[in-house]
């Protein structure tokens, strides 16, 4: 049977304590798994943080990782987020040079991909885009062709489409 390595998302709800990220990262590294992306922020309750982690694994290993995460004292809940029942999004902000020749192309990218202009300085602009991984890969290719100077990309955030 071929090993099905795929990027899979986990939602981990934790107590907002200083060492909790280290514990979670340690759970991955001790078993030799790599965290592909991570995003974390507080929830309605500021003492509780929600972390979305994506990792390249097989279905079997992700089950083991989740069991191990649930064993950590500060983890309130760890579970898998499965697509298509869950939506996944990332965001990038990218700085592109503003030149007369490229202005139209930049505007077209913003219009067609639901982008935003975050900042305009003489000679450069910072643009913002969100989307799933595939969307962003495509947008990044377009931005490269527009001479993108630098960019910053968030980890994946994800949410189920409806209460299950």
């Amino acid at each position: 049977m071929p090993v099905q390595f795929k990027e899979r998302a986990i939602s981990v709800v934790v107590n907002n304590r200083p060492d909790v990220l280290a514990r979670i990262a340690g759970t991955f590294s001790a078993r030799g798994f790599n965290i592909e992306s991570i995003s974390a922020n507080i929830t309605r309750n500021p003492a509780v943080t929600k972390i979305i982690i994506t990792t390249l694994t097989t279905p079997e290993t992700i089950t083991k990782v989740i069991k191990q995460l649930n064993r950590l004292v500060d983890v309130l809940e760890a579970r898998r987020l499965r697509r298509p029942q869950a939506v996944c999004r990332e965001m990038i902000i990218a700085r592109v040079p503003l030149t007369k020749e490229r202005q139209a192309a930049i505007q077209e990218l913003i219009d067609t991909r639901g982008g935003k202009t975050v900042s305009i300085e003489p000679g450069s602009a910072v643009l913002e885009f969100t989307g799933d991984r595939e969307d962003l890969e495509e947008i990044l290719t377009r931005l490269e062709s527009l001479g993108m100077e630098d960019f910053s990309r968030t980890g994946v955030i994800a949410l189920e489409r409806s209460k299950s």
């Binding site: 060492d19 280290a22 514990r23 340690g26 001790a30 089950t63 083991k64 069991k67 191990q68 649930n70 064993r71 950590l72 004292v73 500060d74």
Partner: protein, 566 residues
């Protein structure tokens, strides 16, 4: 009423009914030690911090209660790491209290500062750095709760000096530390399913593991196995959960397991594993392990399920409720042992046991197995046996024939040489009326030999039995069998005179060099009040058999020259 951090700490310890601390003072815990002199608590001053954790661990294993140790910051804390990892691997409830530099200095490479919560993150069940006296009481209580709940394990609490010195007006909140235990949601349904599988089987077998001892479930386990008359094999950590004198006893399985046990596991058609985690030393080649069997796995830790061995039915539960439910349901349904159906199987097991019992060849030298047999005889099998790690450990496991739980204290998971002597100290403190013996090798005993000082200091009547073969015996055995007899760095013949060494500590030392002296030395050692070191000069190149080469199926056992004796 005003209370210092030290006082809050002792209040919490008292609420946890802690009667003994194993520890070693130092700069950052001076205030705690000062307060201790005004408290009703026993403190055992060890000679090295590693010994403190192993002693707390041995106390926990022998008594079933949480063991506690107290050390200073920096080197005091790092010296505990091996002990903590050892307790973690064997799921032993231990609370380790470490001093820490004042909070204002943390992170500045202060004198005797080390990030001990960072260092021990992956070998503790959980750890805490207490930054505020307001959190101290709750944190200590929580540490005990975590250490003993679910699958037990070590918990470290790091105590900065300023937190300990600070003063609080507040009465410590009597926070009800909430039990985190959750029952298994469909225990009854799963147990019914298990009973069905068990009664359908023609070749049923139970593996009992350390979880049954940790869960204090030996009694109900014995009743269940006997009720259905199902043969029992044990892991190293499960020894004593089921009596070796019972007719259903089929032996320890694994790398140095009994022929009957390894054959039984390989041939059974139903395997019920209770409180085991399927360590590689027990399963050997996993794909060949119990390959004809449907597997029922009862364990409190969901991580253990399907981790190594795929199960057909998993019951994530403490052993007691699971076994009680099995019992009750079988009573309600009037289920009886499937005598006829498993008759042939039981005969087969008896045949395996008779064909190839554990044995050894005698000659003019002292055989290490013989020493253990005599020790068993002279203590009526009722001693608490702590071991170090190596050949002597396996011989103790094979030949002491344990009938009681909490009586075999051994480093199963981490394999820590130097564990036995301090563990015996902890056991003797917990059980002052029992005979406590550290079975050691000449290599291992030297790893924490300084603890002879602790034994002498408190007059603890620990008996140390050294099976002295002037080698790192297990290393030498592997070199003989797998490395073309190249005995690289396993020669320990430059050894101290253990009798004189004992005497230097003020401990009685005895020696036997011939088989006919063994019984006399053991008897004299056991009858002498107080601690005794017994040095047995044993056959130097004796091997532990049976032996399954790592990575091969359990059925591929080597027997050396043992077969002749059977």
């Amino acid at each position: 009423m005003q209370q210092t951090g030290s006082q809050v700490l002792f209040t919490a310890l008292k609420e946890e009914n802690v009667d003994t601390l194993f520890g070693y003072p130092g700069g950052c815990v001076m205030d705690i030690y000062d307060e201790m002199s005004r408290q009703q608590i026993r403190h055992i001053l060890v000679r090295h911090e590693q010994g403190a954790v192993h002693a707390a661990d041995g106390y926990a294993r022998a008594s079933g209660r949480v063991g506690v140790c107290l050390v200073t910051s920096g080197p005091g804390a790092t010296n505990t790491v091996t002990g903590i990892a050892n307790a973690y691997m064997d799921s032993i409830p231990v609370v380790v209290l470490t001093g820490q530099v004042p909070t204002a200095i943390i992170g500045s490479d202060g004198f005797q500062e080390v990030d001990i919560t960072g260092i021990t993150r992956t070998c503790t069940k959980h750890n805490f750095l207490v930054r505020d006296i307001g959190d101290l009481h709750r944190t200590v209580r929580e540490a005990f709760q975590i250490a003993r709940s679910g699958r037990p394990g070590p918990v470290l609490v790091d105590l900065p000096k300023d937190v300990i010195q600070s003063v609080t007006e507040a009465e410590p909140l009597r926070t009800a530390v909430s039990p985190v235990e959750e029952g298994c949601p469909d225990l009854e349904g799963l147990c019914n399913e298990a009973l069905k599988m068990l009664l359908q089987a023609k070749k049923p077998l139970i593996i009992v593991g350390g979880g049954v001892i940790l869960g204090k479930a030996s009694e109900i386990f014995r009743a269940f196995a006997r009720k259905f008359r199902i043969p029992v094999v044990s892991t190293l950590m499960g020894l004593g959960a089921f009596p070796a004198s019972d007719p259903l006893w089929t032996g320890m399985l694994g790398m140095h397991g009994a022929y009957s046990a390894n054959m039984a596991v390989s041939q059974c058609d139903l395997l019920m594993a209770v409180g085991v985690r399927f360590d590689d030393r027990a399963t050997s080649k996993v794909s060949a392990f119990a390959s004809h069997a449907r597997i029922i796995h009862i364990d409190i830790d969901p991580v253990s399920i399907d981790r190594i061995v795929r199960t057909d039915l998993a019951i994530v539960s403490h052993c007691i409720p699971a076994l009680k439910t099995l019992h009750r349901l079988s009573d309600e349904q009037g289920l009886t042992p499937p005598e006829r159906q498993i008759h042939a199987w039981r005969n087969q097991l008896l045949q395996w046991k008779a064909e190839m019992p554990l044995g050894y060849c005698r000659n003019q030298n002292i055989k290490p197995q013989y020493v253990i047999e005599k020790l068993h005889q002279l203590t009526q099998g009722r001693a608490i046996i702590a071991t170090e790690v190596g050949q002597h450990q396996m011989w103790a496991a094979q030949f002491y024939r344990f009938d009681d739980p909490n009586a075999f204290l051994t480093s199963g998971g981490l394999g820590t040489m130097g564990f036995g002597l301090p563990a015996a100290i902890g056991a003797q403190v917990a059980c002052p009326d029992r005979i406590v013996v550290d079975v050691a090798g000449d290599g291992s005993i030297q790893m924490n030999i300084q603890e002879l000082g602790t034994i002498a200091h408190y007059g603890l009547p620990v008996k140390v039995v050294i099976l002295n073969n002037l080698y790192l015996g297990m290393i030498r055995q592997w070199q003989e069998l797998f490395y073309g007899r190249r005995y690289s760095q396993s020669d320990m013949s430059q050894a101290p005179d253990f009798v004189k060494l004992a005497e230097a500590y003020g401990i009685k030392g005895l020696r036997a060099t011939k088989p006919e002296e063994v019984k006399r030395v053991l008897r004299e050692g056991l009858e002498t009040p107080g601690p005794v070191v017994m040095d047995f000069h044993v056959e130097s190149e004796e091997n532990v058999f049976p032996m399954v080469k790592p990575g091969t199926p359990l059925t591929e056992m080597a027997f050396g020259n043992v077969r002749a004796v059977a």
